[in-house]
């Protein structure tokens, strides 16, 4: 028989990278707009995998699971910049409306900062991949979902059918919620007239349930953290009078106020503290393994050189060079901020890089366990740190905030893509090289689109935000930029000296102590549960319990072969429908 190959196997190919880059640019531009309009981003990896699957495998007839993995890695890697930029930079633009001193925003420095963040996010993940994907075996539910999707051409009919059923259920549920046939949140507590500070509510999201199904027992500490926060601490806080009531006030308004206070003034900042403490302890305890990982990267590179082959992973010199380059970029960008001297910029860059590394670990761990990323909370801490470090310099604070936000988003996305790569057998080196080569594209497109939208009105009025003409007139073109508006409020609170330092410190100590307990990621999971609304935690916990029940009843093979494709379908289906829905809404808005 003829054993000579008649075609090469497409992997890190021009077609795969070009399609990924094209998708990434389009998604970045679209998601910047969507995030300004609706206040949330979309899961880039899943969408890119579906489009790549259709175009590469369906239209171009290119049969390569791994090439699609590269395509999806590139596309989502570029797109991560959209969330990183939209959650931070608009705050500076919105503040500049009332404060003319902020109007000379240093665009070049902002682009430098965003590229520095993108680069650092990628290189940080190189040694962490071994620790989180190979040794700790974190789940990364979206990574598994994309992996299941990519592998579907080779799976049996049952698995393919289960994936489709999951996607169909998710599509029906998501459409039901979007069309208001199904509530966004099932308020079961309301049926028993429970007050808002004792919630029993389920967030209606197929993807959230799917993430819980994929996490199983490992996700239980997350649900337990939510129970502790809302079913134990919250009632105690109200019963013991820890929340000062606004007297006198109608009863329903009063209990709503108390629930809001417990969340905003107690649980959320405490959750951020736990995340920080848990991550610090996690970094400390994983240090031997990460050191070992760096050594094994060097050894693998040496062996590959001796064999005349290319190594499967990037050698440590790439990590050091990338980190050094990103640090210099961050230093320069801080120096370009008005009112910041050369050495002050160095201090800012050092603190920013340290926080960025820690936040990257937090977000990768949280995403690895639950698929949920505490992006806004970590960016908020970055901005708070920088605000105090720069003596209230808003421009410098947001500049580093942009870098951190882009970096941590990149960390979460890259790690999830590497998990997918592990499942389909891609070479980590190829994925990382593709990301590194294009790490500058996302920040450029995201900042470019954002500035274009900001300067679009010919009369010089703001292009988005509550004070834009479209929003003041309440027209369909209004881009309210909710995330930027929220960060603007935080900066305003910081300028009044309002910061929950006590919660961050006490939470960090609790997180550190909890991390000694031999349960993987327990502090980060409990912290994340306190940080998020309970309805999300409970919905996810239900998924974990169902998965455990099915595993006990039918065994682990059933979970692996039946439940995983169904749960993956839930995640894929919701991502696809949300994308179509958001684009449809934008098209309708534009038409009006």
């Amino acid at each position: 028989m003829n054993r000579a190959p008649t075609r090469s196997y497409p992997e890190l190919s021009v077609v795969g990278v070009a399609l990924g880059a094209l998708q990434g640019v389009v998604m970045t531009a679209a998601f910047v707009y969507i995030a300004l309009k609706l206040g949330f981003g979309l899961a880039g990896s899943t969408v890119a995998a579906i489009i790549g699957f259709t175009l590469l495998r369906g239209v171009l007839r290119r049969r390569s699971i791994i090439e699609n993995n590269i395509n999806q890695t590139v596309a989502s890697g570029i797109n991560t910049a959209s969330a990183g930029v939209v959650f931070t930079l608009p705050a500076l633009l919105l503040l500049s409306v009332d404060d003319p001193s902020l109007q000379g925003y240093p665009i070049g420095a902002l682009i430098f900062a965003a590229i520095a963040g993108s680069l650092m996010g990628i290189v940080l993940i190189i040694p962490l991949r071994k620790q989180m994907v190979e040794l700790e075996r974190l789940r990364f539910p979206s990574g598994i979902a994309v992996g299941t999707l990519l592998r579907s051409p080779g799976e049996g009919l049952t698995q393919g059918a289960l994936l489709m059923v999951g996607a169909a259920v998710a599509a029906a549920l998501t459409l039901g919620v979007n069309l208001a046939f199904v509530p966004e949140e099932l308020d079961l507590g309301g049926l028993f007239a429970l007050p808002p500070w004792l919630p029993i509510a389920l967030y209606v999201s197929a993807a959230n349930l799917g993430a819980g199904l994929l996490s199983g027992k490992g996700g239980l500490p997350f649900a337990a953290g939510g129970v502790l926060a809302w079913w134990v601490i919250s009632p105690i806080a109200v019963g013991a009078g820890w929340v000062e009531p606004i007297a006198p006030l109608p009863a329903t308004v009063q209990s709503g106020w108390m629930a809001g206070e417990i969340y905003a003034e107690m649980l959320r900042p405490l959750g951020i503290g736990l995340l920080i403490g848990g991550a610090l302890a996690g970094v400390f305890s994983a240090l031997p393994a990460v050191t070992g990982a760096m050594k094994s990267l060097a050894a693998a590179a040496k062996v590959a050189r001796q064999r005349g082959a290319s190594p499967e992973e990037l050698p440590p010199k790439w990590v050091y060079a990338g980190m050094g380059g990103a640090f210099v970029l961050m230093w320069l960008s801080a120096w370009f901020a008005p009112g910041i001297g050369f050495f002050h910029a160095l201090l800012i860059a050092v603190v920013g890089a340290v926080w960025l590394g820690l936040a990257g670990v937090i977000v990768a761990t949280a995403t690895g366990h639950t698929d949920i990323s505490p992006l806004s909370g970590l960016s908020l801490i970055a901005v708070t740190l920088m605000y105090f470090l720069t003596g209230g310099n808003v421009t410098a604070s947001i500049l580093i905030g942009v870098a951190v936000c882009v970096a941590i988003n990149q960390c979460a996305d890259m790690m999830s893509d590497l998990k997918t790569g592990h499942l389909v057998g891609a070479r980590p080196r190829d994925q990382q090289v593709a990301q590194l080569l294009l790490c500058w594209v996302g920040p450029l497109v995201a900042i470019g689109v954002l500035m274009l939208l900001w300067t679009l009105p010919p009369d010089g009025s703001p292009g988005f935000g509550p004070q834009s003409t479209a929003c003041l007139e309440g027209t369909a073109q209004c881009l309210s930029a909710p995330q930027g508006d929220a960060l603007q409020s935080v900066l305003a609170a910081l300028s009044r000296g309002d910061s929950a330092l006590d919660k961050y410190i006490s939470g960090a100590a609790l997180g550190g102590a909890l991390s000694i307990f031999p349960i993987g990621g327990v502090a980060v999971l409990v912290g994340l549960a306190m940080y998020l609304p309970f309805s999300i935690t409970l919905g996810y916990g239900v998924g974990c319990l169902i998965s455990m029940g099915l595993g006990k009843r039918f065994g682990p093979r059933f979970v692996g072969r039946k439940l995983v494709p169904f749960a993956a379908g839930l995640i894929v289906g919701e991502a696809l429908i949300q994308l179509a829905w958001s684009l449809g809404l934008l098209a309708l808005g534009g038409a009006q």
Partner: protein
């Protein structure tokens, strides 16, 4: 000991989190005053917005704009009836805003919190630490007894040897396959290896960490993971009908598993040498 560890964890988390959640009295007072000002301002703004909307509403939207204005009025009336404010709403909102105390600085807030919540929080941290110490001791004892019992032991060498055997057989099965040949049976065999041998080993890796420590474990398990990843590559390439790539990946997978095996044997030898001689 396990029950005590969990008890300490639960008590510690409860005490620690509750203590940490407490806020200083000055901060609570500031929030209550701010809350009153915000409540009144929002009620006033809601009414102003509703009134503006009604003034500008086209005829077809007038009814819903009137409803919005009525709802805003009802909300304001409820506040008035509850005694939240008296007289003019705008004036009451302005007075409430003016009466808001100075926000405590972060350091003042920290010191105030330590006064009210510091003790339960500190006790909680100590209890968690004690529980964690006990849990770690218990885990070390359990994993070592599981490793010595036949039922619970994770047999790394047996799993790797199975993988090597299946890979060798797979290598023979695909040695002469042309491009695009059907490979469903081969892939099913790889799936079975993953589900029945490799995944259980991955699930039981805690025993290996307890036995050799994280650093040594990372060396051989890293190689094992590379073997697993290349096995997935074999599967993908076979699905895509590209047998030459599958053959290359198969060799890489074999090398990684063999490397993992050698590193594991080395780790075992080192731990046997380090262990004290039996009496």
């Amino acid at each position: 000991m396990r029950a005590l560890a969990w008890f300490l964890l639960l008590v510690g988390v409860l005490l620690g989190a509750a203590g940490a959640a407490l806020n200083a009295e000055e901060h609570q007072q500031y929030r209550a005053e701010l809350g009153l000002a915000i409540t009144l301002e929002r009620a006033e703004q809601a009414r102003l917005r509703a009134a503006d909307r009604l003034a500008e509403a086209p005829p077809e939207e007038a009814a819903s704009a009137r409803d919005a204005l009525a709802a805003a009025d009802v909300a304001i009336e409820a506040l008035r009836e509850a005694g939240t404010f008296e007289g003019d709403l705008a004036q009451a909102a302005a007075s409430a805003r003016a009466a808001v105390s100075r926000v405590p600085t972060p350091i003042e807030r920290l010191i105030g919190w330590l006064r009210v919540g510091g003790i339960p929080w500190g006790l909680g941290v100590v209890a968690i630490g004690a529980g964690a110490w006990l849990a770690r001791r218990e885990q070390a004892r359990t994993t070592s007894s599981a490793a010595t019992s036949e039922r619970g032991a994770v047999d790394f060498l047996a799993a790797v040897d199975s993988a090597i055997e299946v890979l060798n057989e797979t290598g023979e099965a695909i040695a002469d396959l042309p491009l695009d040949a059907p490979t469903f049976t081969v892939r099913t065999r790889i799936d079975a290896l993953q589900d029945e041998v490799l995944t259980p080993l991955v699930e039981g890796r805690g025993q290996l960490i307890a036995r050799h420590g994280l650093t040594t474990f990372a060396v051989y398990f890293g190689a094992f993971s590379a073997g697993e990843r290349n096995l997935a590559r074999v599967w993908s390439a076979l699905t895509d009908g590209h047998t030459p790539t599958a053959r290359d990946a198969l060799q890489a997978s074999l090398q990684s598993f063999e490397h993992a095996r050698a590193a594991y044997v080395q780790a075992e030898t080192a731990s046997a040498t380090a262990a004290p001689a039996p009496d």
